[in-house]
């Protein structure tokens, strides 16, 4: 079998099998999804090796391609296809490595859950969908797997669905992302009407001939889809709530892979954005706005997972800023490093939550002394995210800043720098609250087992090492990358250090965070209320829709059905009245006959024109 088909198919088959098996059997067969994941990982490495290290190798092997006719429209086959290129190979690695880490980790984290078999089934389906998405050779298959990922996200967020918060969050996540998908779907329709194909190379190859208006429209419609999936302002509101799902699932789906799919979509279809020009500006602006707002909201959260969720939103904004400069590497390199350090941070947070049974940072403290491995790995993740040399986040963030400066986007650059400052601040705030000081309400922590720790160690290593690939990375994707320059790197380091410094000043040495809150201003209030966006979405949009639906129901019942019934009643009334004419009274009949004769005579006379 073709290796490209096998990579996503194997986890998909595990899902189908688990779907059919009863719960008890699933629970005993957890080796299957993990084994499938391992096979996919190995196959992905093999696939990667056929295209690495770059153009020459690719030319030598030729692009690997396989297609399947899903339908036939007007006699013309409609194909969906898998295609391996550098971008796809890179994503394969990210997805399978993080996926593997999460699956091993979950064995311990989800142990004893009644529905653990279902959890693994959905993880497998997700993996299959994400692998299909990265390999998709056409936009139709891309969209299909995109939607299936959305379903898996929905199912995992609602995993503990007897909990109100979880079932609310799941529906909010699906619908908010689907708002974006509406744009994506219409973009595809526009694409089909323009090019008559969904094949990615065909579409991208013709993008420059569409004219800027069409290119802008299609690019923005696709980007709207990306905004939903990648949680960009103002469609970001679902991601923080999505933290109601199991933490390892958050690490995989809501940090490393699925939420990055929007970035991947824009990277894939960058020629359309370049043909438009305007669309690139929009990507820049949305990315910058999101990065800053999310970083500010992350700075006031008390729930450790929510801090990380806002951080993810903010970092996705960075990736979009990178792509907004028109450079694939700038966006994708940050996606690559972020996948490792952010999933590491989530898994670390999970390890802490697993031990302390709370997500509230105000109840934590002093974890550093009792959970050594977790502390070290989490610190690596923190430094990588904050952009400290020599951790990977420094290199990838610098690449974005560097391109922003070079392309002359000075305003965006300063927004990015401010976001980077806040990033370092909220991570320091988190770190000092959780790891330093003395244990608070949640009590003493104890270290997790090796199933939890070993994936974290692997991801920590990758978070350190990924930065070293800066040059190779650009060469591989065919868009230049450079080491950070002294000035740019220096500036970002100063910013990051001062963010950490502020965090230490406010929260170091177990300082009381409530004191900070006491100095809170209006700004603080607005930020803690998430700029009132969630309020608007939930109260006015969702609530308003509910009220509208109730009103329309009333209208339907009373007015439309009322008219229909009214017609029926009117007929019956007419019948009741007319019935009197046929009561069997000869006098009435006689009168009618006379009247009828008179009328007929009159008509006859008039008709003959006398």
């Amino acid at each position: 079998m073709n290796i490209l088909v096998a990579i996503p198919l194997i986890p998909a088959l595990v899902f189908f099998l688990f779907f059919l098996l009863p719960r008890a059997t699933r629970t005993k067969m957890l080796f299957l999804p993990i084994g499938a994941m391992a096979v996919s990982l190995v196959l992905s490495l093999m696939a990667f090796s056929t295209v690495f290290p770059g153009a020459e190798k690719l030319a030598e092997h030729g692009a690997q391609f396989t297609s399947y006719t899903i339908g036939v429209i007007g006699g013309v086959p409609l194909n969906i296809s898998l295609r391996l290129d550098a971008l796809a190979a890179l994503m394969l690695l990210v997805v399978t490595i993080v996926g593997m880490a999460v699956q091993v980790y979950s064995l311990s984290y989800m142990k004893g859950e009644e529905r653990i078999g279902w959890y693994y089934a959905v993880l497998s389906l997700f993996t299959a969908a994400m692998l299909t998405l990265v390999l998709a050779g056409d936009f139709l298959l891309f969209y299909m797997s995109w939607e299936v990922m959305g379903l898996c996200s929905y199912l995992l967020i609602g995993f503990w669905n007897t909990n109100d918060e979880a079932r609310r969050a799941s529906i909010k996540a699906f619908l908010t992302t689907r708002v974006g998908d509406v744009g994506f779907a219409i973009g595809l329709a526009y694409m089909w009407a323009t090019v008559g194909s969904f094949d990615i190379p065909t579409v991208l190859g013709s993008a420059h001939t569409w004219g800027p208006g069409v290119a802008t429209a299609i690019a923005l419609l696709l980007f709207f889809g990306a905004m939903g999936k990648s949680a960009q302002f103002p469609l970001h509101i679902w991601l923080p709530d999505a933290m109601a799902g199991p933490t390892p699932a958050s690490a995989l789906i809501h940090a490393a892979t699925m939420v990055a799919a929007g970035v991947f979509l824009v990277a894939r279809s960058l020629p359309i954005f370049e043909a438009s020009g305007v669309a690139l500006q929009v990507v820049l602006i949305i990315g910058a706005t999101t990065a800053l707002l999310a970083a500010s909201m992350g700075s006031v959260q008390h729930d450790i997972k929510k801090v990380l969720a806002y951080s993810t939103i903010s970092q996705l904004g960075f990736m979009f800023m990178g792509l907004g400069t028109g450079n694939v590497s700038a966006g994708m390199f940050h996606l690559f490093t972020h996948a490792f350090f952010k999933s590491l941070l989530f898994l670390g947070a999970g390890s802490i939550i697993h031990s302390l049974h709370t997500q509230d940072m105000r109840e934590m403290g002093g974890v550093g002394k009792s959970m050594k491995v977790t502390t070290v790995t989490f610190t690596v993740g923190t430094l990588a995210l904050s952009g400290i040399m020599p951790f990977s986040g420094f290199f990838s963030k610098d690449l974005i800043l560097d391109h922003l400066w070079r392309e002359g986007h000075y305003v965006i650059y300063s927004v990015a720098l401010a976001s980077a400052f806040l990033t370092a601040f909220y991570m320091a705030r988190l770190w000092f609250r959780v790891f330093s000081g003395t244990p608070r309400k949640a009590g003493h922590a104890h270290e997790s087992d090796m199933k939890i720790l070993s994936p974290m160690i692997v991801l920590a290593l990758l978070s350190v090492l990924a930065g070293a690939t800066t040059l190779v990375f650009g060469e591989f994707l065919g868009s230049e990358t450079e080491w950070p320059s002294l000035v740019m790197g220096g500036a970002s380091t100063i910013v990051a250090l001062s963010g950490i410094g502020l965090g230490w000043a406010l929260f170091g040495n177990g300082r009381d965070p409530e004191a900070v809150r006491a100095r809170a201003s209006k700004v603080y209030m607005i930020v803690t209320n998430r700029f009132f966006l969630d309020l608007v979405a939930e109260q006015y949009i969702a609530g308003g829709y509910n009220r509208l639906s109730e009103k329309v129901n009333w209208f339907d019942k009373k007015v439309i059905n009322g008219i229909v019934n009214g017609v029926g009643v009117a007929c019956r009334q007419a019948g009741t009245q007319l019935r009197r004419l046929q009561a069997g009274r000869v006098q009435v009949y006689q009168r009618l006959v006379v009247a009828a004769v008179l009328v007929l005579v009159l008509v006859a006379v008039l008709a003959t024109g006398v």
Partner: protein, 490 residues
């Protein structure tokens, strides 16, 4: 071998056989005899579909014998790819419904007779190629449906069955007028529906006849604002009635438009497209909005059908290959998925004796398989790629954008996708998820083998079509291509 006649008359023969069963052995024998006839019928239908030449254009398995020679009326049946898919749907759902009502204890003999007669009529309507025969079958299906609602319905059954019947009859009268207008037109003069597609009626004539047919078919589909006959009927009808009504009977409406209005009146179809499209958009929005709040699950499904059939109507209005292909896939997929939804809701109702969502929270925890089936059906219905619901909706959106219809129609359809997800997820939220209510805790045993036998095939078909649209498109696409060429020529 007159394979089509066998397909249509075998269930009627079965009905006669069931009537001969002595009352003492009513239920136990009647259901087996019914299932036997329907299985055989389904096998023959499958054989017909498999031997159908998918590459060839035009009608196949034609049978034509004089019926009422003095009026030139023939018994004329034949199928193209569109008909084949619809007959498969009809035979399939009819059988599934027998399993779904396996333990009917109220007048069981009559019940199964009605199901058999219903299938006979539905099979017939999709193969009739003579207008008179078409109209006979068109009316035929209403009679068993009337009795199914009137005798096995809920409290308000007599009012609702009458209303449903009269409403449908009103639509039928318009269609009859349309048929007569075409027959009496100098260029008409035949009942042959294949021949009439070549007659090029004058545009002025087409315009008003199209109107007659449109409103006639719209009542059946149902298109907003003619949907209240259906929604009331669903509330009162027994599960089997709802499954066949939503699953197959509605499709006779879209089928009629594709078989009659578009090929015979192509110019009018083009001129009226903006109106048909606008009404379709109204149905999409209206159906989805009403479905959202609706606590009664069956009523909610009735309105979701209004929304989904709105998509099919938009595809028909587009007049494009993509849109019409999509409309037909959607018609089939909606039959399977909505059938599944009604069946699962029926299973829940049989256990809890309520269909009110607020009373039913937590089915998923109490009965995971049953809740899972409902969630599966809901997710197929909201158009998840890889399941049957997606292909039709997507092709309709693509086709609508490509056509000359205003672009905002497509945007409305896109919003419809979102609203469709909203009400279906809301069902999962309210019924499958959450802590079980007292009602559910007391009354919700897990799915039985017969339930799995009922729902399983439909779930499997949903997956198969979702992963390979060609299962349907191989049949549909060539027939639609001939149709779109007619539309282009006009």
């Amino acid at each position: 071998m007159p394979i089509l006649s066998i397909i249509a008359f075998l269930p009627a023969l079965g009905a006669a056989a069931v009537m001969c069963i002595p009352n003492s052995r009513g239920l136990s024998l009647a259901k087996w005899v019914t299932a036997g006839f329907m299985v055989v019928d389904l096998v023959i239908v499958a054989g017909m579909a498999l031997s159908f030449d998918r590459g060839a254009a035009g009608m196949q398995f034609i049978e034509k014998i004089p019926w009422i020679p003095s009026f030139g009326i023939n018994y004329f049946v034949g199928v193209d790819g569109i008909s084949v898919t619809m007959i498969v749907l009809s035979a399939l759902l009819s059988l599934i419904v027998v399993f779904g009502s396996w333990s009917t204890d109220h007048r069981p003999k009559t019940w199964f007779v009605m199901l058999l007669l219903l299938e006979a009529g539905m099979n017939g309507v999709f193969m009739a190629l003579d207008f008179a025969l078409f109209y006979v079958y068109w009316e035929w299906v209403l009679i068993p449906m009337y009795f199914i609602i009137a005798w096995w319905g809920k409290e308000d059954r007599s009012y609702v069955s009458l209303k449903f019947f009269l409403y449908m009859l009103l639509g039928s009268v318009l269609i009859l007028l349309g048929i007569l207008a075409i027959y009496l037109h100098p260029q008409g003069g035949t009942w042959d529906m294949v021949e009439l597609a070549n007659r090029n009626f004058p545009v002025g004539f087409q315009m008003w006849v199209f109107g007659l047919f449109y409103f006639g078919f719209a009542v059946r589909v149902p298109v907003w604002p003619f949907h209240t006959g259906h929604s009331d009927a669903h509330i009162q009808a027994p599960t089997a009635g709802s499954v066949t009504l939503a699953g197959v009977l509605l499709k006779t409406g879209t089928y009629g438009l594709i078989r009659v209005s578009l090929p015979m009146l192509p110019d009018a179809a083009h001129q009226w497209a903006w109106f048909v499209g606008a009404m379709a958009c109204a149905a999409i929005l209206y159906g989805s909005v009403v479905a959202f709040w609706q606590p009664d699950l069956k009523k909610m499904l009735a309105y979701s059908s209004v929304g989904h059939m709105g998509f099919a109507m938009l595809g028909i209005a587009s007049g494009t290959q993509e849109g019409l292909d999509g409309a037909m896939i959607l018609a089939f997929a909606h039959g399977v998925i909505t059938g599944l939804l009604f069946l699962v809701v029926g299973m829940i109702y049989d256990r809890a004796h309520t269909r009110m969502a607020p009373d039913l929270q937590g089915v998923g925890k109490k009965a995971p398989v049953l809740g899972g089936m409902l969630a599966f059906a809901a997710i197929s219905s909201l158009g998840l790629p890889g399941l049957a619901g997606f292909a039709g909706e997507f092709l309709v959106i693509v086709g609508a954008w490509k056509s000359e219809l205003p672009k905002f129609y497509t945007v409305v359809a896109g919003v419809g996708m979102l609203l469709g997800a909203a009400y279906m997820l809301w069902v999962i939220y309210r019924v499958v998820y959450g802590e079980p209510t007292e009602t559910v805790e007391k009354s919700m045993p897990e799915a039985r083998p017969i339930d799995l036998l009922t729902a399983g095939p439909l779930m499997a078909i949903t997956v198969i079509i979702g992963l390979n649209w060609n299962v349907l498109l191989d049949f549909i696409d060539p027939a639609i291509k001939i149709l779109t060429q007619t539309l282009v020529r006009s």
